[in-house]
């Protein structure tokens, strides 16, 4: 029996389905696609969907449906069948689950979600690093220049005065950052820029655009 084209594009449909499913939680395509656990998940799912498609073809041929069911519809039915079977596959003896494959799959899915979230946290770090650099560049910050230090303190106060926070809290945090710089030998400007970028990416975008 020749292999139909639907067997080739089914993994692509599975990929779209899994990305959509995970995107609801992760909300970042690069974070979902950026680690091996997702691709293993996709391979398992694709193999199961291809098997389901094969059985659907067999069933369709046996019943001799006139004109046949459109291949795309069969592919969608295969994904739906795979999902429902994998989500409820449990072997019970005496009413108690001996082998609960659906639980293993759920655990693995959560593992994929967690790895994607970890990947997104790495992207967040990169964003903070990039925005911090851009803030320092815009201000033309030079370490030890009193004017630049004052400018960075103003930026900190602008970005960090929100909600019920008052200037006393913000001043205390500035003193803490200064103290931390003295202890670690780090740059005051870099620490302020990093803190601001961590707190409010939108504020940084507006600041850089101004």
């Amino acid at each position: 029996m020749p292999i139909g084209s639907e067997y080739y594009y089914l993994p692509v449909l599975v990929l779209a389905f899994l990305v959509l499913d995970l995107f609801i939680d992760v909300k970042s395509l690069p974070a979902i696609l950026g680690h091996l656990f997702f691709w293993l998940y996709w391979m398992i799912y694709s193999a199961a969907a291809e098997t389901a498609l094969y059985f659907l073809h067999q069933n369709s041929a046996t019943n001799g449906s006139p004109g046949g069911i459109p291949n795309l519809l069969l592919a969608f039915a295969a994904i739906l069948a795979t999902t429902t079977v994998l989500q409820s596959l449990t072997f019970k003896v005496g009413g108690k689950p001996v082998l609960d494959f659906s639980r293993y799959l759920d655990d693995y899915r959560r593992g994929v979600l967690s790895s994607s979230a970890e990947c997104k946290a790495r992207f967040e770090k990169r964003r903070v690093l990039k925005q911090s650099g851009l803030i320092l560049k815009k201000v033309n910050y030079k370490v030890g220049e009193p004017e630049d230090e004052i400018r960075m303190k103003t930026i900190y106060a602008d970005a960090m005065l929100f909600g019920a926070r008052d200037s006393a809290i913000v001043n205390r945090e500035i003193v803490e950052i200064e103290q931390s710089c003295v202890n670690s030998g780090g740059s005051f400007g870099a620490l302020v820029a990093s803190r601001v970028a961590q707190t409010d990416p939108e504020w940084v975008k507006n600041f850089l655009a101004s």
């Binding site: 939680d25 992760v26 909300k27 970042s28 974070a31 655990d107 959560r110 593992g111 979600l113 967690s114 994607s116 979230a117 970890e118 997104k120 946290a121 992207f123 967040e124 770090k125 903070v128 929100f162 909600g163 019920a164 809290i169 945090e173 803190r195 961590q198 707190t199 409010d200 990416p201």
Partner: protein, 86 residues
């Protein structure tokens, strides 16, 4: 079974701790976020948010790189499992 017990323990620990639950749900919603972003977005006190993050980390619901509010946090598998029953 062990995971079920951990979920039940975490759920009991978050019961009536609305501030920590809000922090947890915010990080789940963002999937990953720096501690200071949580402070601003939720409008919570920085020290309270820090305590919530420590608690969530100790419960195994969050993982993070860095300490306190300067860390970047994301949910663990256990966190996603708890989210399904919250």
């Amino acid at each position: 079974m062990a995971a079920t017990i951990e979920i039940a323990q975490a759920q009991a620990s978050l019961y009536q701790d609305f501030d920590t639950t809000r922090v947890f749900k915010f990080i789940l919603q963002k999937s990953a976020a720096p501690g200071w972003m949580v402070v601003k977005e939720l409008g919570q006190d920085a020290d309270k948010t820090k305590a919530s993050l420590v608690k969530l980390r100790n419960l195994g619901l969050l993982e993070g790189s860095g300490d306190g509010l300067d860390g970047f946090y994301h949910s663990t598998s256990l966190g996603y499992a708890l989210n399904e029953v919250l």
